[in-house]
Amino acid sequence: MPLDLFTVGDPIADTKAPVDVPIGERWSTRRFRARLVNPANRRKLTVIVVGTGLAGGSAAATLGEAGYKVKNFWFHDSPRRAHSVAAQGGINAAKNYRNDGDSVHRLFYDTVKGGDFRSRENNVHRLAEVSVNIIDQCVAQGVPFAREYGGLLDNRSFGGAQVSRTFYARGQTGQQLLYGAYQALERQMAAGTVEQFARHEMLDLIIVDGRARGIVARNLITGEVSTHFADAVVLATGGYSNVFYLSTNAKGSNATAIWRAHKRGAYFANPCYTQIHPTCIPVKGDYQSKLTLMSESLRNDGRVWVPKERGDERDPRDIPEDERDYYLERIYPAFGNLVPRDIASRQAKNVCDEGRGVGPGGLGVYLDFGDAMKRLGRPAIEAKYGNLFDMYAQITGEDPYETPMRIYPAVHYTMGGLWVDYDLQSTIPGMFVIGEANFSDHGANRLGASALMQGLADGYFVLPNTINDYLADGPFEKVDDGHPAVAEALQDVQGRVQKLLSINGNRTPASFHRELGRLMWDLCGMERSDEGLRKALDRIPEIRQEFWTNLKVSGDQDTINPTLEHAGRVADFIDLAELMCIDALHRNESCGGHFRAESQTPEGEALRDDENFAYVAAWEWTPEGAPPVLHREDLEYEYVHLAQRSYK
């Protein structure tokens, strides 16, 4: 591709999955071939885990139980605050409790297909295998999954799956799974195997002699910047949806840890793969600080529509049936309002772009329960969706029983992340990446109820069975602040903090963040085009330039200073945004949640290009302003055959 925005390097490949045996035996074979660490030696080995969400919390607890010395870092006050807590829907597992034909192979198949053939078969198969252990583990911990009257676990079908394999705890599944991991983690803290570093933010990775050996962290209360050493480092720091400023992520969710690691040599895979969720509460005004997701189960009974005429500002209740366009039912008669997330999102954008959007700013579509209320009656709707309707009323001040809800898509999850091999090790020896922070299992599109599964699979069952193969070579030679690489990383961080405080310009970190987010949403969001992405790539360096010359951060270094924290995160988002746009520009195909204007069928549907793009794009950072280097990992499909998705 004729771009001077990047160069192409050597291909990259996973070398850890034992491909000499059939796929169903690969995980057990890998566990057998991985070297072990004698229990007596584990206490001599230190592992740093950054993050306490489903992946980080479960990994830190499990490694502590195994007898390693764990140092756990997180930026919140308590491990229980990690944003996994906000996941609503559920967690998939191939238990086949419903006797409806589910199996490990079917979950594997659905996930590869759902990822639009851009994930690795080996990793996904393993995910499906350990899914059943996750449910057992969580039940043993006391996670209060929904149950039936006979005392057995309840299941539901989720996200268009044809089997009922989703376990759930009302609309708070993420919260309950997280508390299970959190309680296991607190137990290890009491036992002394896990040392806690609350309100610490990782600001750099320390590499000594080619191995990840520690991190530089800032104590967010005292401002002290300090170094911490280990034999291996595990990043479980979540996704980067907040590059868009407005997303369903928590305010603090950020990309700094993975971006710093990327700048130290970890390849970043598929950064442009983001997921846009169709049923969020629309933006209200300039002050808006985040977006709130409502479960997509609402589309089971709600009908999506906009007025047929653009600029129709009548009260929705006064718009007669024949002047409404139920566009999903019209375009996709077979699936109607239940089309997958990416399609529902993109069509909402299309009708709003046509000027038929509703609500403030014209960025919204109606989700109407009028018919369902007539058919089922209000009590049935209350029983099914009461909590969601209350939440909507609380936020918007409108009563969705009386007037249609307004919804609009919002960024929700990032499938891209740091490149890892089958062992979940990054391109930096000794640095492992788990959960949403890595790129591994969801391809170009994540299925519902799969994020919780992946986070816990990585933390409870995968990492604790692969990291030993690396640690078997340890303990590594002791390092301290006197080592030149350590001193350099420490100075780097301190210099950066000082720089952010000293610019003393006229714009707050939030104002830059909003501007960047708007740009990314418009040009690198649901639909991307060559022209738009090039425009974004012209604009981002200008934003960066202004950021570093006109930023205003008040307050001091040596105290709790959220403005300073935000400034550092925005600086990294600006750099990441540029890589996302380059990745999106080079991938001239539509796939998964990523629609490319130049790659569509005559009917305007997404057109994947397996000939040219059936690979993982792993990007290498090059210092001093040189363009990034693309390393391709070719994807091969031995078990699930390549096919185009169709919902017509």
């Binding site: 479960s58 919140h76 006050d77 229980r80 944003h83 807590v85 906000a86 238990k95 409790y97 252990n133 057992d136 583990q137 039940v139 043993a140 911990q141 006391g142 209060p144 929904a146 149950r147 009257y149 005392g151 057995l152 705890a169 919260q175 508390y179 959190y182 309680q183 296991a184 607190e186 137990r187 803290m189 407005l246 928590a250 305010k251 933006v283 209200k284 005004g285 300039d286 808006q288 600080s289 709130t292 403030p360 700013g361 014209g362 960025l363 009323a393 609380q394 936020i395 604790p464 707050t508 939030a510 104002s511 909003r514 205003k552 008040s554 307050g555 105290t559 709790i560 959220p562 403005t563």
Partner: protein, 279 residues
């Protein structure tokens, strides 16, 4: 004052769009400012203008902070994260009520409180949680580490990874499972402590004791769990529970007083069975 200086607008609604025009509430905020644990602290008065009724309470504070940053003042520190009522980070005393009062007049989290609850010209008092066991870090941010230490003392079921039996080998009656879920929804925000005249953490502790004690898996450690968690909450400096019920009334997740009864029942049983706290 508008929400952003540069006027970048997200919803493509700008000041020229009548639907997005400033709604113009002017409010007087009296906010607790305290530089650190050693500082005495004081209420400081601020004015905010053009506050939209659609803003959340925390977005209103964002607006104030943007103004303070550009004036080279120290912005007001407060904890927050998910802004959808589930992470438990936020927690402010608003006009003397923990988290303020939500849309229907019932409890809420601070992040789910919206400015349409207030009217033009109102004065709003904003203070941190006040309890000996929750020392102020700065301004409105307090240290709630004591709650984590209560969990450490016994708020778990010992089930190391890999040891679990098949999930369906443990049957749980639906009513127990539902009651356990209700208790388990506690988000650890600390509103119960802030609302309690004794600054007791009993509702928090009782929620966890109930959640785990209602499950068959939680039985082996049931007696030790309750005595150790009670001992830890005393050690942390929380007050004793006198069944006033302010905790439950302020709880954004509706954790009921029934959990405290269950804890008391468990505690009595445990003590009679000879359970004593560690050390």
């Amino acid at each position: 004052m508008t929400a952003t200086r540069e006027g970048a607008s997200f919803a493509s609604g700008t000041a020229t769009d009548p639907a997005m025009a400033p709604h113009g509430m002017t409010l007087t905020l009296r906010i607790w400012r305290q530089k650190g644990p050693a500082d005495k602290g004081r209420m400081v008065t601020y004015q905010v203008e053009d506050i939209s009724p659609d803003m959340s309470f925390l977005e209103m504070l964002d607006v104030l902070n943007e103004k303070l940053i550009l004036a080279d003042d120290d912005p007001v520190v407060f904890d927050h994260d998910c802004r959808e009522g589930i992470c438990g980070s936020c927690g402010l005393m608003i006009n003397g009520t923990a988290h303020g009062r939500g849309t229907s007049g019932g409890p809420t989290t601070t992040c789910q409180l919206h400015m349409r609850k207030f009217k033009d010209g109102d004065t709003i008092d904003i203070e941190p949680w006040r309890a000996t066991a929750f020392p102020v870090i700065k301004d409105l941010s307090v240290d709630r580490g004591a709650l984590d230490r209560i969990i450490q003392s016994g708020g778990y079921i010992s089930a190391p990874t890999g040891t679990a039996p098949e999930a369906h080998s443990i049957l749980v009656p639906k009513k127990d499972s539902d009651a356990a879920f209700d208790a388990a929804t506690c988000i650890g925000c600390g509103a119960c402590v802030a609302a309690c005249p004794n600054a007791s953490s009993m509702l928090f502790t009782a929620a966890k004791v109930s959640h785990l004690g209602l499950f068959p898996q939680g039985q082996p450690e049931r007696n030790e769990r309750v005595v150790n968690m009670i001992a830890q909450q005393d050690l942390e400096g929380f007050g004793g529970c006198t069944n006033i019920g302010e905790c439950s009334a302020a709880c954004p997740k509706g954790i009921s007083m029934e959990n405290i009864s269950r804890l008391n029942h468990d505690l009595l049983g445990a003590l009679r069975a000879g359970a004593r706290p560690k050390s």
